[in-house]
């Protein structure tokens, strides 16, 4: 939750007096509020945190960071199914733990 993820603006519109954008995060598309970066244009990149664009970023750095976050599994953490993640409580990563008590695995 703490890390901001870079994304590319594909569309901008005014909604209820709020400047909103459609932003592509390497395939995952989300609605993002542009009120803190009102000058952002379609095609530009920004770092986005919990649905808000916070700072502009150049394309090259944005792409590199996205690739890195994808490799680290951070995009899955940010955009994956949170209930599944919570239910597993890290099961894919810690699944090989023999010593984890059964009752903690529900």
């Amino acid at each position: 939750m703490c890390l901001a993820v870079p994304g590319r603006v594909t569309e901008i519109e005014d909604r209820d007096g709020t400047r909103m954008a459609t932003v592509d995060f390497g395939g995952v598309v989300k609605e993002v509020c542009l009120e803190y970066l009102p000058d952002l244009q379609v095609g530009e990149y920004a770092i986005v945190h919990v649905g808000f664009a916070l700072q502009k970023l150049d394309e090259e750095s944005a792409k590199q960071t996205l690739e890195l976050f994808a490799n680290l599994g951070l995009l899955q953490e940010e955009f994956g199914d949170p209930w599944e993640l919570a239910a597993e409580a890290g099961a894919p990563r810690w699944a090989d733990d023999k010593d984890v008590p059964q009752e903690a695995q529900q």
Binding site: C2, K30, E31, V32, P38, L54, Q64, G90, W94, V100
Partner: protein
């Protein structure tokens, strides 16, 4: 240096490392403030690639970890109430309160929903006018502006059934508290890049001066961390202590003024308890009096809650850099990610979880089975 192949640009990584190796003459202890940076460091074995004299100490910068137990308990209490829709970011679901977590509250019938953005919670409130919708507003200076904007919008749109359970914390007072702690060993800071994207670097020169400590604004990629370490060590070796921005592609010196203005409108400074650490003066935000109507604590009067931290959990020391996770007696035995005793083990950004995840089980200073468990 087997890990180097995993770097995006192994040649550059090697050059940075060579540079660090060549300038270090004495031992230095640096703290990376942000949990995201800790994650990168442990995952890529950066701490092991650095010269032995350079020690990285993990800081308190994991919002999930430092949210006080009392606030988690308040969240659990509110989320259990009939008629309430409790909205949260996904990483809070498994953070243990006293005896249970949000995941369990949902299992018991509570209407707990996970949102990507606080604005999603506001939409849920619009769609459910007969229900009370509460959003769990935690986090540092990066998360506070989105939450502030959401409350501002709620007021502007006249939405009455929305409120915020707020527990925001700020980095600079934490740096101050760490430097003033009697056992402090930190000699330089890698400041959290995204926090500075919002706040700029204006709060840091005073701290650098007062505590004679270099503060280098650092990003999250492995190469960013190496560059941050390199610049901090260079300053230390030269006897300098200035604020330096090693993450200019995302951090402007002035930060994001629009976000800062919104923060100043919606929030006001307050003392905050940090989980495991205790109260740090003026280290957080709460809703300012003009937005009191949107404060879930007022709306649901959840004042007197009896909280109990597991006695054996030493996350407070971990968060202050006084103890490495695997020096805790419970680490990997009674405390694992599936059965966590402290938030630093539950959050993926927590230092205990990072050590467990990347199998840093081998460098304990004391044998686990010989350690007393309270």
């Amino acid at each position: 240096m087997k890990y180097l192949d995993e770097f995006q640009d192994p040649d550059l990584a090697r050059r940075l490392l060579d540079d660090i190796h060549s300038v270090v003459t004495r031992p230095w202890a640096l703290m990376e403030v942000c949990g995201g940076q800790t994650h990168t460091i442990i995952r890529h074995g950066i701490d092991q690639l650095l010269p032995d004299q350079v020690e990285l100490i993990h800081g308190p910068g994991c919002p999930v970890c430092v949210t006080p137990l009392e606030v988690i308990d308040k969240a659990l209490e509110i989320a259990s109430r009939p008629g309430v829709i409790f909205c949260s970011f996904g990483d809070m679901l498994r953070v243990p309160g006293t005896g249970r977590d949000l995941f369990q509250v949902r299992g018991e019938g509570g209407d707990v929903r996970v949102v990507y953005s606080p604005l999603d919670a506001l939409h849920i409130a619009q769609q459910n006018p007969d229900r009370e919708v509460v959003f769990f507003g935690i986090g540092f200076e990066t998360t506070a502006p989105p939450n502030a904007m959401t409350v501002y919008q709620a007021r502007k749109l006249g939405i009455k059934n929305f409120s915020l359970l707020v527990s925001h914390v700020r980095v600079p007072p934490a740096i101050k508290a760490i430097m003033e702690s009697p056992n402090c060993r930190v000699q330089g800071f890698l400041a959290a890049g995204h926090v500075c994207s919002v706040m700029g670097v204006g709060e840091y020169p005073d701290l650098a001066d007062r505590y004679r400590v270099p503060i280098v604004v650092t990003g999250f990629e492995p190469l960013d961390i190496l560059e941050g370490v390199r610049r901090t060590v260079l300053q230390l070796e030269r006897g300098e202590h200035t604020v330096d921005n090693a993450y200019p592609r995302a951090v402007r010196p002035e930060g994001n003024p629009a976000a800062q203005a919104m923060l100043a409108d919606v929030f006001e400074g307050t003392d905050r308890a940090w989980r495991g650490i205790g109260v740090i003066p003026d280290s957080g935000w709460r809703l300012s009096s003009r937005y009191r109507d949107f404060d879930a604590e007022h709306r649901f009067s959840v004042g007197d809650i009896d909280t109990r931290e597991p006695a054996e959990c030493r996350s407070g020391e971990v968060l202050q850099g006084l103890l490495k996770p695997n020096e805790c007696a419970a680490f990997g035995t009674t405390c694992t990610p599936r059965n966590p005793l402290g938030a630093t083990m539950v959050s993926s950004e927590g230092a205990c979880a990072a050590y467990y995840l990347y199998r840093r089980l081998d460098i304990t200073t004391a044998p686990l089975e010989a350690s007393p468990v309270a």
